[in-house]
């Protein structure tokens, strides 16, 4: 089952394989049990957790687009206390590390969630979703301004010594500027990309399809953009990168690794095929075999050479 060729190290976490679920697409791990257990993944990344419960956006919340989908869930989640009482006991029964995705509307909210979870041993690290609107800055996402991104990173950095991953928004002119700012502010790793802002209009009603008007585009459609950003960020920072955006095959995952990702995450691809994570791991193993690669780390960033 475990294959030493797949083992990677992300921000001090030793992962038995480089595949993670993308936050928000895998719930807290329970829903995909009919298909595989959380232990399939190198680590579990939970959906976003906030201080208090968030109700989320009005429906419709999802919509299919060419080779992709839009979502405007609005980060619905039961809040950190419910997370502790319901998700943690479930995740504790598995061996794989747990990375908690953290959301907030202010710097203080991010810090509060991390502080609340920091002593829980099954929580191995944090992933900050900085695509959330910053209410103090008029609702502009934290992740679109280097200084805001650095500020929330630095504040959370003070609150935990556990691995801190910052998840970047792709809706920016220069993603390397954000990446450098959060690296400087203490991030141990970066994950990218979050969703691209998009929308759809229903011709019959002549109105935006999504209850929230705009939503996040994910899935294979965005893969070329995600890959380019991983490639650029790899050149700009020295912390490890978790690459994601449209991964639907082992080949896609390997492209991200060659672009510079240490680990990769699969999200929307699971909606296309609930067995995808298993297929990706099998496919990566096959590729390593065929190409006689001793450890997947050899392939990391190889496209830059």
């Amino acid at each position: 089952m475990t294959d030493p060729r797949l083992q990677v190290n992300v921000a001090g976490l030793v992962l038995k394989n480089p595949l993670l679920p993308a936050s928000g697409t895998y719930g807290y791990g329970r829903e995909y049990l009919p298909f595989f257990t959380p232990d399939l993944f190198g680590a579990v990344v939970t959906k976003g957790v906030s201080t208090i419960p968030w109700v989320g956006n009005p429906p419709p919340r999802v919509y299919e687009t060419p080779a992709g989908m839009l979502n405007a869930i609005g980060l619905q989640n039961p809040g950190v206390e419910a997370f502790i009482s319901e998700a943690i006991p479930f995740l504790e029964t598995y061996q794989t590390p747990v990375i908690v995705n953290v959301v907030g509307k202010t710097v203080e909210e991010y810090v509060a969630v991390v502080e609340r979870l920091d002593d829980i041993s099954v929580v191995s690290g944090f992933e900050l979703n900085i695509s959330c609107p910053n209410v103090k800055e008029g609702g502009i996402a934290f992740g679109t301004q280097p200084d805001c991104a650095a500020q929330v990173t630095a504040a959370v950095r003070k609150a935990t010594r556990k691995p801190l991953i910052v998840k970047l928004s792709p809706n920016v002119t220069d993603i390397t500027a954000i990446a450098k700012a959060v690296e400087q502010a203490g991030a141990d790793a970066l994950s990218l990309i979050n969703t691209l802002l998009g929308m759809a209009i229903d011709l019959r009603s002549r109105k935006p399809v999504l209850g929230n008007v705009v939503g996040g585009l994910s899935g294979p459609a965005v893969k070329p953009v995600a890959l380019r950003m991983v490639y650029q960020v790899y050149q700009a920072v020295s912390v490890p990168i978790i690459g994601m955006g449209g991964i639907c095959s082992a080949a896609d995952a390997l492209e991200f690794i060659m672009a510079g990702a240490t680990a990769v995450a699969v999200g929307t691809g699971m909606f296309h095929d609930p067995m995808l994570p298993r297929k990706i791991l099998d496919g990566i193993r096959e590729f390593l075999q065929e190409e006689k690669v001793e450890n997947i780390a050899e392939l990391k960033g190889i496209a830059h050479r």
């Binding site: 829903e31 999802v62 299919e64 909606f271 296309h272």
Partner: protein
Amino acid sequence: MKQTEALILERTALGPGYYYYRLLCPELADKAKPGQFIEIKASSEETLDPLLSRPISIYRINPEEGSLAVIFKTVGRGTRRIAALQRGNKVSVFGPVGNGFMLPEEAGRIALIAGGIGMPPLFSLAERYPEKDFTLFYGGRSATDLLALDAWEQLGVPYKLATDDGSAGFHGLVTSLFEREHLAASFDYVIACGPKPMLKAVQQLAARFRLPGAISLEAYMACGVGACLGCTCATSKGYRRVCVDGPVFEISEVTFDD
């Protein structure tokens, strides 16, 4: 819930844009309950568009044969692609998904209200409980939109039809028909599946007559397993997932926006 490549045992066109498929998928047929649905992949191996599977209700459950039957209408490219599949082809499906119907023991006379393509799950329910006293109220645009009436007849469930154009049964809404009939011979329980405006009307009628019941909802879905929170509907308990908390909800629980 299981994923499998289901063999298409039978494909029948039931009329303009309506298709009946019988799928060999023993692991799913073994578990399936009335009111649940399956997710059918609308794309082939070599394409990522359309990306998402399409939820389709289970119409008949045959655990002996290991098969599930569905009836669907082609409304967009996903259903059109599925309709292009032929007998002998395989199609990727997973399920069964959802809570399914719960029939209270005490429910004696049960009204089933179907709007258009909302009929199939009600059939699986009626077929599962032959001892129950069901009456079907079935509405559609036109006579050609009322499907599988022979199957209902074989089942021995009396039905009353309504069409928008009067081409079969009552000329008008199925909910008006139900209202009239309910006043004549009252029911203990109501179960409805169909378009939102119909469900809303049924909800109002149920409230007026203090009739307990359940409705089966539709929603645009992404994961189909409860993970993404994409398919939520507003309820008195907050947003709930249609795919796994539903598709069947207690009739008064759902909040329809206006």
